[in-house]
Amino acid sequence: MPQVSLTVNGTKHTVEVEARTLLVELLREKLRLTGTHVGCDTSQCGACVVHMGGDSIKSCTILAVQCEGADVTTIEGLAAADGTLHPMQEAFREYHALQCGFCTPGMVMSAIDLVNKHPDGMSEKEIREGLEGNLCRCTGYHNIVKAIAAASDVMQGRTAELTPAAAE
C-alpha cells in the first residue's frame, strides 16, 4: 500500500493509504481530525476546505498521495496553543456567522485564504463572489459576509480589534 508523509497542523505524519484515498479521508479517518467535513460528492460545497501550502483547497478533490511532503492546516490548527481564536474564528462568533456549524470549518478556511489574497480588503460583492466554492444552508450568508469583512480589517491591521457587531 502506498505511503504518504505530510505535515498537518505542524505535526508530521507518515500514513499508509490506498492510492484512491482522498486527503479528507486521511484527515478524518486516519488522523481523526473530524473538523474537516464532507457535504457533497461533486466538489461543490466546500465543507472540506483546508489549507495546503497556504492555499485553500478542497480536501475531497485531492488524493492523499498527491500531498506527499505537503504542509496542511485544518480548522483544528487555527487557534493559538493557548486557545486564542484566530481573528476569523472570533469574527464568525461575534457576527453569528454560523448556525449548525457543519459548513463552518470549510467556510472559515476559505475566508482566510480569501482575505490573504486581497491584502487591501474587499467590497461586499467581492466577498460574496469569493465564497463561490462554499455552500451554507443555514445563514443566508448575510452574517458570514459581515464577519469576513470585520476579520479582514483585523488581519490586515485596519482595525486593532474586532469591530463588535451592531447592538440590536
Binding site: P2, T42, T61
Partner: protein, 265 residues
C-alpha cells in the same frame, strides 16, 4: 472511486513512458475534472500518473510576441501573473473567473486544455487567440487541437507541456454561468490579433468549443458590439437542458459576444 496504481514521474519522458504502456492510465495535474469523475465511479483507470513532480512545466513567460504558459501553471497563477495581466488582461480575467478559489488554486491550464470539457473556459480563449499547444512530441494549432466535446488531437500518452499564446491587439471575454454548477453555459472570447479577428464560444455548443464565423466577419468589418448584436446563432448546433433550451443558449452567445467586445474595448 476504484483503486488504481499511483505514479509520480519526475520527467515528461517517464510520464509518457507509463502512459504509453497502459491505455487505461490517466494523467493528473490539478485533478479538478478527473477526481470528481473518479469519485462518481464514472472512470476506472488502472493507474494515475501525477505530473506535479515534473520540473519546468510551471510558470508564465513572455517570448517576443507570445506568452508561453507551462502546462502545470495554475489558474490562480495565470490570473495574478503580472506578465499575463500586462499582455492579455482578458486571459487573466478569464482565469480569475474559472470555477471557485479552490479550483483556481489547483487546476492547471494544461489539464483544462487536454480535457477539453465543453464548458471549460480556456479552450475558447486559446481558439480565439490562435494559440499553439506544445506537447512532448509536437506543436498543434488550437484550431487543430480542439476536436469536439472532450476530444483533442492528443494521441494516446501524449502530454501537453506548454501553451504558446500570441499577444493580441485586444481581447475580451464574457460568459453566462450555469446557475447550479457555475460552469459556463455560454461564454464568448473575442480577439483581434496576429491571426485576425477570432470569436470562440464555449459552454453553448453541442459539440464543444467552436468558432463563430459570422461574428468574426462582422467584427473584422466593424469592431463594435453593434456589429454582432444582430447576428442570430443557429440553435441547431446548441446544447439544451434543464437550465436552458438551445434557443436560449443561441441567444446568449450573441449577448455574450456583445459583452466580450465591450470588455475588449
Amino acid at each position: 472511486m476504484y483503486d488504481f496504481e499511483y505514479h509520480k514521474p519526475s520527467s515528461v519522458a517517464d510520464a509518457v513512458k507509463i502512459l504509453a504502456a497502459d491505455p487505461d492510465a490517466r494523467a493528473i495535474s490539478g485533478g479538478m475534472t478527473l477526481l470528481p469523475a473518479l469519485k462518481l465511479r464514472l472512470n476506472k483507470p488502472t493507474s494515475v500518473v501525477d505530473l506535479s513532480g515534473i520540473a519546468d512545466l510551471r510558470g508564465v513567460k513572455r517570448e517576443g510576441g507570445k506568452l508561453v504558459v507551462g502546462a502545470l501553471t495554475r489558474h490562480y497563477e495565470v490570473a495574478t501573473s503580472a506578465e499575463v495581466k500586462a499582455s492579455i488582461p482578458a486571459l487573466a480575467a478569464m482565469a480569475a473567473s474559472i470555477g471557485d478559489t479552490q479550483v483556481r488554486n489547483r487546476g492547471t491550464m494544461g489539464g483544462s486544455v487536454a480535457n477539453n470539457d465543453p464548458s471549460a473556459d480556456y479552450p475558447a480563449a486559446l481558439l480565439a487567440l490562435g494559440a499553439t499547444i506544445q506537447t512532448d512530441r509536437r506543436t498543434i494549432s488550437a484550431d487543430d487541437f480542439f476536436q469536439g466535446m472532450f476530444a483533442t488531437a492528443l494521441e494516446a500518452g501524449e502530454l501537453v507541456t506548454a501553451i504558446h499564446i500570441p499577444v493580441p491587439e485586444k481581447a475580451g471575454y464574457a460568459k453566462m454561468k450555469n446557475p447550479a454548477s457555475r460552469y459556463s453555459m455560454a461564454g464568448v472570447f473575442v480577439a483581434k490579433g496576429p491571426a485576425g479577428v477570432r470569436v470562440a464560444v464555449n459552454g453553448a455548443g453541442n459539440n464543444g468549443v467552436f468558432r463563430e464565423a459570422a461574428m468574426e466577419a462582422a467584427l473584422s468589418a466593424n469592431w463594435s458590439a453593434d456589429a454582432v448584436a444582430g447576428i442570430k446563432v443557429d440553435p441547431s448546433g446548441m446544447n439544451g437542458d434543464i437550465h436552458g433550451s438551445a434557443e436560449y443558449r443561441a441567444h446568449l452567445v450573441t449577448v455574450m459576444a456583445k459583452r466580450a467586445v465591450v470588455d475588449a474595448g
